[in-house]
Amino acid sequence: MNRTLLAVAAVGALVLAGCSSELPAEDGGGGGGSSATDAAKSEFFDQAEFDRQLAFREASADGPADKPWEQMIEPALVDTAKFAKPGGGYNLCFSNAAVDNPWRQVGFRTMQQEVEQHKEITKFTVLDAEAKDDKQISDIQSLSGQNCSALIISPNTTATLTPAVEAACATGVPVIVFDRGVNTDCPVTFIHPIGGFAFGANGAEFLTEKVDAGGKILALRILPGVDVLEQRWAAANEIFADSELDVVGVEFTDGDAAKTKSIVSDYIQREGQIDGVWMDAGATSVAAIEAFQDAGVDVPAFVGEDQQDFLRLWVDEGLTAVAPTYPTYQWRTPVIAALKILNGEQVPSEWVLPQPTITQDDVETYVAEDMPPLHYAMCGCENMPGYPGPWK
């Protein structure tokens, strides 16, 4: 009987471990199958920021049209003369939040290649925080003592990393923050694409155009509680609420293809028909499409992302689809910004990059048959000297 008790205790421990690592910490903004219909506003919804991002989509960007990573929307330029250090021989430092997903991998490779192109950068020091706040805090501290000419930070989380970024600013090194933000304006520039509200809205607006009134929409999200993803859903939720569309389900997939496919199959059975699928990220879009194919029904209007596997399927099957992007070319911009700052050139205090959407009209130009399935098309890397080697 002792053995049984031990075994029970062991499995009990497993249950706890499973719960703490897999269950969403809180149910942000209407998760779960049936609660979707009440269309309550997400707590992550911010009307002012939503309006600002939607306006940015229409604004024309300054800078070369064929190099969106150098473009800026409504820039408020700041003087950087005090950081000027002409002559090259730069030691560029980078504290990276993580490289734990394909998006960050494509981005980081693009950044490395950007650094390669500039002979003035003689040293590129990178510390990877492995998605841990505490590691990134100590990474930033350790980089402060390594004679960096400029420090690039891609924060793991916003609030926790703010003091560390402030401390780095205090050492006098020009600090450049990109991707996720921090709650301080001490960095010289904060670089990011338009944002999550615009991303979510692009997909939701597409569905309101392509799906007839009363059509059934299934929304697939990765997980709750991550601000960039919550913003995407908050915007889509807002647009669906004002539309005639019927959101029949909002489900979390954990980014798992098998789970996604099962969920979509269940909904096809339960609802009889799904007229549109909205996703907050495209990594499992192909699995979701396969669920329709395997059920023997037409693939409805789909919102994916700029991963190659989705784009290929879109073209091959002639789908009705759209791909909002969170462009990986933004990883080139911090390096360019660092060099501008070290040259004493002006940079915008908030560097807003354009955030293109791939549509029916231009999808074929983004398909690259020989690239890996999870390569992000919007890397702005096709004309870089080493392409495509490092990205494969």
Binding site: T4, A7, V8, C19, G255, D256, S265, R270, L374
Partner: protein, 343 residues
């Protein structure tokens, strides 16, 4: 020991899970319009096949007195390795399948050898293996899987074949049937019975000349091999993903426990463990059809595992009191404290 005359019989603990399964299937038929035809149930079986195969592997280990926590990580590793090696090249399919299966057997062998030769509890060995595999996969892929599976590789998990009377039967269902029949036959045979005996009373088996270490090793190797097979089916079902195996070890254990298999070993049938896996999958499908939030899945698993183990721990005494006549009709009523018979 005198053998009772053969008649169709269910091993102890099989009846409750079959009752649960039938109830769930009836629930599905009422709740989902797709479950009024054979296709609907075949689709359910297809989706449940990988978990059922994992449950069979887990059964071998649990019934012989161990745990295998490494199967989820092994599934992930199998899919990621296959995708990287195939890289979309059809001609590589055959040898990569062989390699993935061999990798599974090898991981099982290592688990088994460390458990039996170094006398480390299997819970710790396989937990360590889980972490090692997770870390190795992360290191090798930098956190994002690369490459792609070939169409031929995906056939096993995604495709189907035309069978007379039944129509289109998924390959994964056929593979599952083969594995299940083989496992049931194996457990009826001498080695299978000895495996249960090891879980029941290791000392008695040793004293009567049984090769305890070799039997346990076999259980781990089978579990590893079946996990690799599940990886091939899961990779085929949904494609490459670094999350494919997450939490599967826990699901497999839940399924086995739901099937009435005693944790710690010595009692339970492989058919019941498989039925437990199908019940679990049917339950999740039913919950989804009824519109219950997906986040409840973990909670439901937790409740099931506690209830099933509590039911088993209350022991045969309660069951016999509830159904007094059953003791006389069961083929092999056995006090779990007594050593099991070895052939």
């Amino acid at each position: 020991m005198k053998r009772p005359a053969w008649r169709p019989r269910l091993a102890e603990g099989t009846a409750p899970v079959l009752a649960v399964l039938v109830a769930l299937l009836i629930g599905l038929a009422i709740a989902g319009p797709a479950y009024d035809s054979v296709e609907g149930y075949l689709a359910l079986l297809k989706r449940a096949a990988p978990l059922m195969i994992l449950a069979i592997g887990q059964y071998f280990v649990i019934v012989s007195g161990g745990f295998d926590l490494s199967v989820g990580a092994l599934v992930t590793a199998g899919v990621v390795i296959a995708a990287r090696l195939i890289g979309g090249d059809e001609s590589a399919t055959a040898w990569v399948i062989v390699l993935v299966l061999a990798f599974g057997l090898l991981v099982g062998l290592v688990n088994g050898l460390i458990t039996t030769k170094l006398l480390v509890p299997s819970f710790i060995v396989t937990l360590g293996m889980l972490l090692v595999l997770d870390g190795a996969v992360f290191l090798w892929t930098d956190g994002a899987p690369r490459g792609a599976l070939s169409t031929a590789f995906r056939q096993f998990g995604r495709g189907s074949v035309d069978v007379p009377l039944l129509g289109e039967v998924p390959y994964s269902v056929l593979i599952l049937l083969v594995v299940l029949v083989a496992a049931a036959v194996f457990m009826r045979g001498g080695t299978g019975r000895a495996l249960v005996a090891v879980g029941d009373n290791e000392q008695a088996v040793r004293l009567s000349g049984g090769q305890v270490d070799r039997l346990r090793l076999l259980a781990f190797v089978l579990s590893g091999g079946l996990a690799a097979l599940a990886a091939i089916l899961l990779g085929g079902f949904a494609g490459v993903s670094a999350q494919v195996g997450q939490g599967l070890e826990f699901r497999a254990i839940t399924a086995v426990v739901l099937g009435g298999v005693l944790l710690g070993g010595g009692r339970g049938s492989v058919v019941a463990a498989t039925a437990g896996a199908l019940s679990l999958e049917a339950l999740f499908t039913l919950l989804n059809l009824l519109g219950v939030a997906g986040a409840l899945e973990s909670a439901v698993q937790g409740v099931i595992i506690i209830a099933a183990v509590a039911y088993a721990s209350l022991g045969s005494g309660l069951r016999h009191r509830l159904r007094p006549r059953r003791a006389t009709t069961t083929s092999e009523p056995r006090d779990p404290r007594q050593p099991a018979s070895t052939p």
